[in-house]
C-alpha cells in the first residue's frame, strides 16, 4: 500500500463552532517526508492531530495504514503513528529517561528482551546513555525535546509526526534533529514535519503543504514551493536565505534555477565560473 495517510474531505469544527480545517484532501506516500507550513492558527496542528487519532474528523475521513481512524483509539493508532509534541512537558511523565524510553515498548506488549534492545538502540542513536537515569524534568529544555523524540522512536511507529522539532534548539540541538530526520529517511519512515524552520524544510522535505486560514492552498516540492513567490507572499512565509540569494542572482547570472541549500548554492556559483 503506498498511501500511508489518506484524508478525504476532512473537516474539523471545534465545539466552539470555529472551523479549524476545511475540506482537506491529502495523500501521503509511505517513506515520504512532508512538511506542513503556515502561520500559527492556520490549521496545521489540527490537521496532524488527525493522523494519530488525537482528533477525529467532524466530517470526512482519515485512514492511517488503511485503517479508518474514526473507529480507533489513540492507543491502537500509536503503533502506527507517533506524535512528538512541540512542548516536551506535554509528553514526558516518567521519573527517568530510561523509564521514558521503556514506557512505549512496554505498552506495545513487547517482551523484556525486546524492550531492552529497543531502549539500547534508541539510547545509542540519541546518545542518551550518560543521562539515562536522570529525571527528564531536570534536563535542559532542548535535551528534553530530544528525549521526547527518542521515546517515540523507541516505539518504532511507521509514521512520525514532529511538531516544531527545532524550536528552542540551539545549533547543536538542531543538528541532532537533522540527524534524526535523515535516519528516519534511511529507515523509510514516513515523517510529517510541522515547522517554521524553512532551511530545514529546504534541506530535507520531499513535499511541502502550505496552509492558510484552515485550508491547504499549495502542495509542491520544496523547489517549486520556494520559487513560488506569490504563494510565499500570500502565506507570509519566507525563503531560506540561500534560496533568496540564488533567486536574486538568477536574474543576473545563475541560469540553472534556484537553489535550496548552502551547499547547492556554492555548487551553482562555482559552475557559473567554469
Amino acid at each position: 500500500m503506498s498511501n500511508i495517510i489518506e484524508c478525504s474531505n476532512l473537516s474539523h469544527v471545534y465545539p466552539t463552532g470555529l472551523p479549524a480545517i476545511k475540506a482537506i484532501n491529502l495523500k501521503v506516500n509511505s517513506g515520504e517526508i512532508v512538511a506542513i507550513l503556515g502561520q500559527n492558527g492556520s490549521g496545521k496542528t489540527t490537521l496532524v492531530k488527525h493522523f494519530n487519532g488525537l482528533l477525529k474528523p467532524t466530517s470526512g475521513k482519515v485512514s492511517i495504514n488503511g485503517i479508518d481512524t474514526a473507529k480507533q483509539t489513540v492507543f491502537n493508532l500509536s503503533s502506527h503513528a507517533g506524535y512528538v509534541f512541540q512542548n516536551p512537558n506535554h509528553q514526558l511523565f516518567s521519573t527517568s529517561v530510561l523509564a521514558e524510553l521503556q514506557f512505549g515498548p512496554k505498552n506495545q506488549g513487547l517482551t523484556d528482551d525486546e524492550i531492552e534492545v529497543r531502549v539500547k538502540e534508541t539510547a545509542d542513536f540519541f546518545q542518551l546513555h550518560s543521562i539515562i537515569n536522570e529525571h527528564p524534568l531536570r534536563l535542559s529544555f532542548p535535551l528534553r525535546k530530544i528525549v521526547a523524540m527518542a521515546s517515540i522512536y523507541a516505539m518504532q511507529p511507521s509514521i512520525f509526526i514532529l511538531d516544531e522539532p527545532t524550536t528552542g534548539q540551539d545549533h547543536g540541538g538542531a543538528e541532532k534533529v537533522r540527524k534524526f530526520l535523515r535516519k528516519l529517511k534511511d529507515d523509510e519512515k514516513t515523517v510529517i514535519l510541522v515547522t517554521h524552520d524553512m532551511p530545514l524544510v529546504a534541506e530535507i522535505a520531499d513535499r511541502v503543504i502550505a496552509m492558510w486560514s484552515s485550508e491547504i492552498i499549495r502542495t509542491a516540492n520544496p523547489r517549486e514551493f520556494f520559487f513560488d513567490l506569490k504563494t510565499m507572499e500570500k502565506t507570509k512565509l519566507q525563503q531560506p536565505q540561500a534560496t533568496a540569494l540564488s533567486h536574486r542572482l538568477q536574474k543576473k547570472v545563475l541560469n540553472d534555477g534556484i537553489t535550496l541549500t548552502v551547499q547547492e548554492t556554492i555548487n551553482a556559483l562555482e559552475k557559473v565560473l567554469n
Binding site: 502561520q39 545549533h171 532551511p199 536565505q241 548554492t265 565560473l273
Partner: protein, 289 residues
C-alpha cells in the same frame, strides 16, 4: 560621541543548588542607542545576563552574585527592580508569562499603576506606546485573543510605556510564527533607529542579527568569548564553530567558495551584502577568465 548606559563589572553569578556559575567574570559596556545582540549555545548564560540588566538577577533569583551592574550609573544591587523598570524594559520569550489582564488597556495600565504613574499621564503614555507597536484600536480586546506577534508587541508596548531607555528582549520570537517574528524584529529596529532606544536582544537567528545589530557578544559557558560588529563576528567562522554557532547562510556560501580556492575581499553577512558581493565577483571573474 558615544556614552555608556550600562556597565557590567566582573559579574559572576551562581544559582543556588548548581555546581558551576552561570556567569563567570563578565565585563561589558553598552552604549546609548546601541543595538546589541547576545548569542551563544543553550546554557551559555545569555538569559542570566539579560536578567541582570534590570535587577531581576540578583533581587528575584536565589544565588550568589559577585561584581557589579550599573544602569545609568545606578548600582542594581542598591536599587529595586521596580525603580529600574523606568530605565530598562524587559520582554521575555513567552508573552503569555507576561500578560495577565482581561483587556489590552488594563494590561497596559497595570504596570504604570504599579510604579505610581497618575491617570492623566497614563492616558498619554498608553496610546503613545500602542501606536508605536501598531496595536492602536485593540484596547478592548483580550490579550489572549491576539496573535503571538501581537501579544509580543503588547509586551513591548507595556515595557515602552514606562519610558525606558533600554529595551531587553530575551529570545522574543522563539514562540512566534514567521509573521510574528517579522513584526517584533521590525518594531525593535524602528525603536532603535527612530527613537535611539538602546536594544539588547538575546536571539538564535543569526540572519536577523546580521541585519540589525551594531555589535554582537558571543557567550559560551558563562564567559564572553568574542565581541565585535556583525562583520567581525560572523565572518570568523572558526570561532563560531568552536562554540557551536553557524554563520548566516550567505556567509557560509562565501566561505564554502573560499575553501574551494576562490577569494573574496570581505565575506558578506547579509542578503543585500551578498547580492552585491557575488554580483561583483561573478562579473570580475568572467572578465578575467
Amino acid at each position: 560621541m558615544t556614552s555608556e548606559i550600562i556597565r557590567i563589572e566582573n559579574l559572576t553569578y551562581q544559582y543556588a543548588h548548581t555546581d558551576k556559575p552561570a556567569l563567570v567574570d563578565i565585563n561589558l559596556s553598552i552604549n546609548k542607542g546601541e543595538y546589541l545582540a547576545i548569542i551563544g549555545p543553550c546554557g551559555a548564560g545569555k538569559t542570566t545576563i539579560a536578567l541582570s540588566l534590570n535587577g531581576i538577577v540578583p533581587h528575584m533569583t536565589v544565588g550568589e552574585m559577585r561584581g557589579k551592574v550599573f544602569v545609568e550609573g545606578i548600582d542594581t544591587t542598591q536599587s529595586q527592580v521596580r525603580d529600574l523598570a523606568h530605565i530598562v524594559g524587559m520582554v521575555f520569550d513567552n508573552p503569555e508569562y507576561q500578560l495577565s489582564q482581561s483587556t489590552v488597556l488594563s494590561e497596559m495600565a497595570i504596570g504604570l499603576e504599579n510604579i505610581g504613574v497618575p491617570r492623566d499621564e497614563m492616558l498619554v503614555r498608553i496610546p503613545e506606546a500602542l501606536q508605536i507597536v501598531g496595536l492602536s484600536g485593540l484596547e478592548e480586546r483580550s490579550p489572549l485573543e491576539l496573535s503571538g506577534g501581537q501579544q509580543q508587541r503588547l509586551a513591548i508596548a507595556a515595557a515602552l510605556s514606562m519610558h525606558p531607555k533600554v529595551l531587553v528582549l530575551d529570545e522574543p520570537t522563539s514562540n512566534l510564527d514567521p509573521m510574528g517574528k517579522e513584526e517584533v524584529f521590525s518594531v525593535a529596529a524602528q525603536l532603535n533607529r527612530e527613537k535611539q532606544m538602546t536594544v539588547v536582544i538575546v536571539e538564535h537567528e543569526v540572519e536577523v542579527i546580521a541585519d540589525y545589530a551594531d555589535r554582537v557578544v558571543v557567550l559560551d559557558q558563562g564567559q564572553i568569548v568574542n565581541s565585535g560588529n556583525v562583520n567581525e563576528i560572523f565572518t570568523d567562522i572558526d570561532s563560531l564553530d568552536r562554540v557551536g554557532i553557524r554563520p548566516p547562510q550567505v556567509t557560509a556560501i562565501a566561505s564554502g567558495l573560499e575553501k574551494r580556492g576562490y577569494h573574496f575581499k570581505d565575506l558578506p553577512v547579509t542578503l543585500d551584502g551578498a547580492d552585491d558581493t557575488f554580483s561583483e565577483w561573478l562579473k570580475q571573474d568572467k572578465v578575467s577568465a
